[in-house]
Symmetry: C2
């Protein structure tokens, strides 16, 4: 079973990291709390601000590498791999890719180890990647009908998405069992 796992918003706390940096740099400006997000896209919530200053936060050197892991994610990935699942980190680069790409790899190396660096798949279009399940906080259409089932990593902003839902990493085994019950061909 091939399990694809998204990075930002699923393993790494992108919005939390942005919020912290924003509040520290612009204490006088409005700061949107992560639980009030209505989409996974930071820019959607700061449309009154110049795009450049919002983007400069998360495209700065060190931002991606400095993101905190989302609770339980690293342990879950290691446990999955230990059991024998083929786990791949399936992540899209930011448009401003200069710092983000290498830092995504370095983040994986830091938290999951060097062997996992070989398991990163960096792609804008995840429908081109083969897998049985994609655990992801968001869903982007792509060129193809995906071979994977989307398991929605539950976040305040994605309650509208359909699909089997992972309510926090501690529940990954139950969610995977449910997926197999619903889609027996994914076993």
């Amino acid at each position: 079973m091939i399990i694809l796992i998204d990075q930002d918003g699923t393993l790494a706390d992108f919005i939390g990291g942005f919020t912290e940096k924003w509040a520290a740099k612009y204490p006088e400006k409005t700061c949107i709390s992560p639980e009030h997000y209505l989409s996974p896209r930071v820019l959607d919530h700061y449309s009154d601000e110049p795009r450049e200053i919002v983007e400069s936060i998360y495209s700065s050197p060190g931002f991606i590498f400095g993101l905190s892991p989302i609770e339980g994610g690293i342990e879950a990935v290691k446990e999955m791999a230990g059991i024998g699942y083929d786990v791949r980190i399936c992540t899209a680069p930011l448009g401003l890719y200069k710092n983000c790409i290498v830092e995504k790899y370095a983040w994986v190396e830091k938290y999951l180890g060097q062997e996992f660096v070989k398991k990163v798949i960096m792609t804008k279009d995840k429908t081109l990647i083969k897998g049985d399940v994609l655990i992801d906080d968001s869903f982007q259409k792509g060129m193809l009908i995906p071979s994977w089932e989307h398991m929605v990593f539950d976040r305040p902003y994605n309650r509208d998405l359909s699909g089997i839902r992972l309510n926090g990493w501690k529940n990954w085994k139950d969610a995977l069992h449910l997926l197999r019950d619903v889609y027996p061909q994914k076993s």
Copy 2:
């Protein structure tokens, strides 16, 4: 039709770039001419040298970005995309990924434009990527049986590989027609 195209050794002249830098930096040492390569792996040809000094050439900042395009490759990719093929650059990161990854993206942006940056798929295991054909100078086994047919980008070191062969970029249309004749389901 989804056409996956490898980067190093297929679009970018990695071995040529290495050879030039090696000869300039170590004029007193043996330098293997690209036409005498027996594998796509530089290290295989410099096994008498300390691995670190060989690797330091191609992991240096600017090496990947500075690679010359292989003759006709950029024009071929642009023509394919213009005709309406879905072309993706499908490339594996070096083990020493620090400079290489972002420079691979920057190289694509330089020669193919910003829109093509979105079409890069960075993966160690290309068998996980969906496509009809993979044009690549080398073949690496992976986790899955590939959905693509391997079109061998002809190089002196890969004459042992079976598959439809692309003898220089100027012949891409003929090679693709041949592929379709042999595998009509790829049309």
